[in-house]
Amino acid sequence: MVYVTEDFLETPHGKSSCVSCHNGNPAASDKQGAHEGLTALPGDSADVYCGRCHAEIVSTFETSLHFNQKGYFVRIANRTGFDIQGNPELMEHYNEECGKCHASCGQCHVSRPVSVQGGFVNGHKFDKPDRDDNCVACHGSRVGAEYLGQNEGFQPDLHRFKPGGGNCSFCHSGSEMHGSGTIYTYRYLKLEMPRCEDCHQDDEAANIYHQRHWSHESLPKLACQVCHSQPYKNCNGCHTGGAGITGSSYMKFKIAKNKFNLEAANRDYDYVTVRHIPIAPDTYASWGISDLANFSSEPTWKYATPHNIQKWTALTTVAEGQGCGENCHNSAEYYLLTSDLLNYEVEANQEIVMDDKL
């Protein structure tokens, strides 16, 4: 719906003429004529339109992963052995199935994302992204549901109830979203992405668990989520195909070795939480790629930062008389093991499984 509220006209953007951003033919007397030459989504050409006034932000926006989707292209190239961006036919499939999640200025600041059919958030008024209509519109099935406590039997993330914690911007800043000018190939390499330690540095030696698992000289370092996450959503074939991943998503909690090369982003943990991703050797068969030549070049269980943090979890709570690590150490339930994998996944995940830690 493209209903503009009258109070938009009082805002700085509303005082510009419509055609200055949308083109079209305002002299026409019918819908078809008026929309001739229309630029429905000026934010898709940010350098032409938004950049007139917001030049500084737009100058780095091409490095935003929300915009360039570099992470997707690199992952696909690693597995196929070539860059699909040079192949128009494959790009058509990509744009139809994956590219819809690309975000422009307008899809965060004016309307809902195209992937959920758009529509103005607030009568065309420009604003900071709305949690439910913008962020969760795309990041709803996992992150949003976890953070808001929408998965049956699990609690919302405790940060939600902090002052300001109702919005994603409580942790995720505009500079992270807009791109910094540095081209990243993976979202967790972004230095602008928040880490728990950014706020909780003072907690490093707060208790014996932190002393042993956070900064101990000779003991493994754990990502905070390893102790403080609840089970989270893992994906099968929700929006892709492939033999073995046709089931729906499921709640699971798995710890694995951190072999994700994230040291540059200060994510130098030894053990991290991992999430199953929907990929199989024949996932892109409908695109004409019958088999992924380098399928095992990347794990099918990926580094994850579940958004359902609790101070006390099943791992941090032990019965009276039990040792402090009773629920974690030697736990086949919580460790990612070879027995958790499908046959074709074994090689891809061999570096991260915890079989030798039991």
Binding site: Y3, L9, C18, V19, A27, A28, C138
Partner: protein, 68 residues
């Protein structure tokens, strides 16, 4: 002579008013000032009832969308 001039002036003013009125295709009078060429866009896009009439229905999204 003076009477003739007055009649011509009145006729001129009348014809100019008529020309101005018929030349203006946009009758919308917004409560807030809108700059020139944008006025006809706003004429439709501020009118929810009209938009409902002329909008092309969009099918609802299916399945789980997005980057999780």
């Amino acid at each position: 002579m003076k009477q003739k001039n007055a009649v011509v002036s009145l006729l001129f003013l009348f014809s100019m008013s008529l020309l101005f009125y018929t030349g203006c295709t946009d009758k919308y009078e917004p409560t807030s000032p809108i700059s020139g060429s944008g006025s006809s866009c706003v004429h439709c896009h501020l009118n929810a009832e009209l938009l409902k009439e002329v909008a092309t229905p969009i099918p609802p999204p299916t399945g789980e969308a997005g980057e999780g």
